[in-house]
Symmetry: C2
Subunit: 356 residues, 2 copies
DNA sequence: CTGTTAGCGCATTCAG
DNA sequence: CTGAATGCGCTAACAG
């Protein structure tokens, strides 16, 4: 049931040399071999379709050429780009990715153990969630296993390699954009800021919103704050509440900062059925970007997560650590969101209508 | 830089027994050991925090407890559920997934080689794309490596384990649904049916549409067929063309079968700016489902891919093969799409409007 | 019932 | 410059 595995010994035998000679030639080691034997070995390897067994190799080299990637998937379309970009830098270097999807801390711990048993050379943690407990990561650190965490809440205090994105800035820039457009009443629909699970990003984005307003001397009214819980449904309900509270179209805020894209979908829905047009009646800026965002009605102005960048940098950090004997100093990197200005904020014109 | 690895020998030494005794006890092998020694070994292992090295184990067992999952990602939100569900069945059995994202055939071949070098026990291929060349899979088959392919075009003729979903049926059911609602003019916006890359699914879904119409004795007019190329933008443009061709609202078809969800996003957009309401003026059914589909405006009636099911079944097939010495007969499984009736087809009422 | 022995496939000293 | 010997950590016969 297994392929008749051809080993280094088979090659040696066929080339009429010793095993170690084959190994040296194939690994390009710096002891000179006669061109004659080199040729014979190369040819034998070719003829036999020899491929070194990576497992056996890792046994002696004490490195496997694998990295474990552990993610707590809540927002799939985000982490997938992290995986891809990490893979894009790891693969050319001969590394392969072990993947584990871990819904909670306990299964994360389990996954780490399983991958450590398989002797991965390092880890990348991608958490798009509220998971915060990082005590077990401290143990990893103590064992001097290289790893980097991406977007993990409350790790700033730890001495880990970490890549975060600036949620505060996202809220701030989104709101600034609206302010610059002349809006003065900018309501917000936020993610889960209290209770559990409680998302750090919801808190940070909200702070950014507040700061931008404060800088303009605008007093934020509690009436402008609605909780949408980061879900489509939550965004929908928050908006209905907003509409009800306003009572009339003229009393609506003129702009809206919606803390994530999921909620925006619901917001758009509620607004539509209330006859409130975006951006004519109310402008909207959100956070997050999917392949659909640019094609919705209206297309959404958003701040896009630097997910691909994060994965790429994480992989590069690992690679650098792999190449070095001693421990490299830990890196703490903060990435900015990328503003994508489209229709929902009113900056861009809508397509010309088609009349019959 | 590596954790001071504790080996089975350390445990043996501490428990004052031989290495093999430790191995037997820890692996629950069926030779009886004195309760005394068993206790000592267990305790020593515990105290030393011993964890067997999976790499070393796989060397001798000739199986690694890993499966390679190779996907050509085009539609991310689809395959991600395949991965997750496969993982859900593999993990409890002690298997770990190696992941590789391969944009084209060449890198797929490369990835297979890399994973074979790492001695994976089997493969799952997930292709949501037009990739069709499967010659290298035939080699895999010849080497008796267990694998199953999901949604790979033109593999029917091969003797592989394969899981497909019934694109024809999707088109058929979608159209039937529209027909049952009383529509008689059902236009379609299709995926790339000719040229390269050319998607089998586009062709199949289109056939289903045609068949449903034919069964009702409805002659399909070429005027009802538009190519949207499976993209948002394509859907948008196809719809503009449809509108232009109709010339007036009254001449529009009353229903639309859109062959995938991406295109639907664009269709909705074009229709919206033309003042054509969905579903009041035109009903719409599509194929594909994301977390957003149910919350869009209007929410989309779709046929959802059986992606999770596919991943689960694939994993189960592998597991069964792993447990058996001889080759199991290959399985060819056809899965149905799942109809999700929502607003866009007109079956469900829209939410009550909120008036000021 | 337990310990000794022999590899799994490979890379790496170290003599010759 | 080359090949024989050693061991990575573990399991599986095989004796005792």
């Amino acid at each position: 049931m297994r392929r008749k595995t051809v080993t280094i010994r088979d090659v040696a035998q066929r080339a009429q040399v010793s095993v170690s000679t084959v190994s040296q030639i194939l690994n390009g080691n710096h002891s000179y071999v006669s061109a004659d034997k080199r040729e014979r070995v190369l040819q034998a390897a070719e003829e036999l379709q020899y491929r070194p067994n990576a497992i056996a190799r890792s046994m002696v080299k004490q490195r496997t050429g694998t990295v474990g990637m552990i993610f707590t998937s809540v927002v799939d379309h985000l982490f997938i780009h992290t995986i891809k970009s990490a893979q894009a830098v790891l693969k050319p270097e001969g590394y392969t990715i072990f993947l584990a999807d871990t819904p909670d801390i306990e299964s994360e711990i389990q996954a780490i153990a399983a991958l450590q048993d398989r002797q991965v050379d390092g880890f990348i943690f991608v958490s798009m969630t509220s998971v915060a407990d990082s005590a077990h990561l401290q143990r990893l650190k103590a064992e001097e296993v290289p790893f980097v965490v991406i977007n993990r809440p409350r790790v700033q205090a730890y001495d880990f390699n970490q890549i975060q994105w600036n949620d505060w800035e996202a809220g701030y820039l989104a709101t600034r954009h609206l302010l610059n457009l002349g809006h003065t009443s900018v309501a917000t629909i936020c993610g889960p800021r209290q209770g559990l699970p409680h998302w750090q990003s919801a808190f940070d984005r909200h702070e950014g919103w507040q700061q931008a307003l404060a800088e303009q001397g605008i007093m934020v009214s509690p009436d402008w704050i609605f909780d949408g819980n980061y879900t489509c449904q939550g965004g929908y309900e928050a908006t209905r509440q907003l509409l009800q509270q306003a009572g009339s179209k003229s009393k609506l805020p003129t702009a809206l900062f919606v803390a994530n894209e999921e909620m925006s979908i619901g917001v758009l829905r509620a607004l539509h059925y209330a006859g409130v047009r975006v951006p004519q009646d109310i402008a909207l800026v959100s956070v997050g970007d999917t392949p659909f965002t640019a094609h919705m009605t209206p297309s959404l102005t958003t701040l896009a997560h630097p997910v691909a960048e994060a994965g790429q940098i994480a992989a590069q950090i690992l690679l650098k650590q792999f190449a070095t004997k001693e421990l490299l100093p830990t890196q703490k990197i903060m990435l900015s969101f990328d503003m994508r200005v489209r229709e929902s904020c009113g900056s861009n014109p809508e397509p010309s209508e088609i009349f019959f």
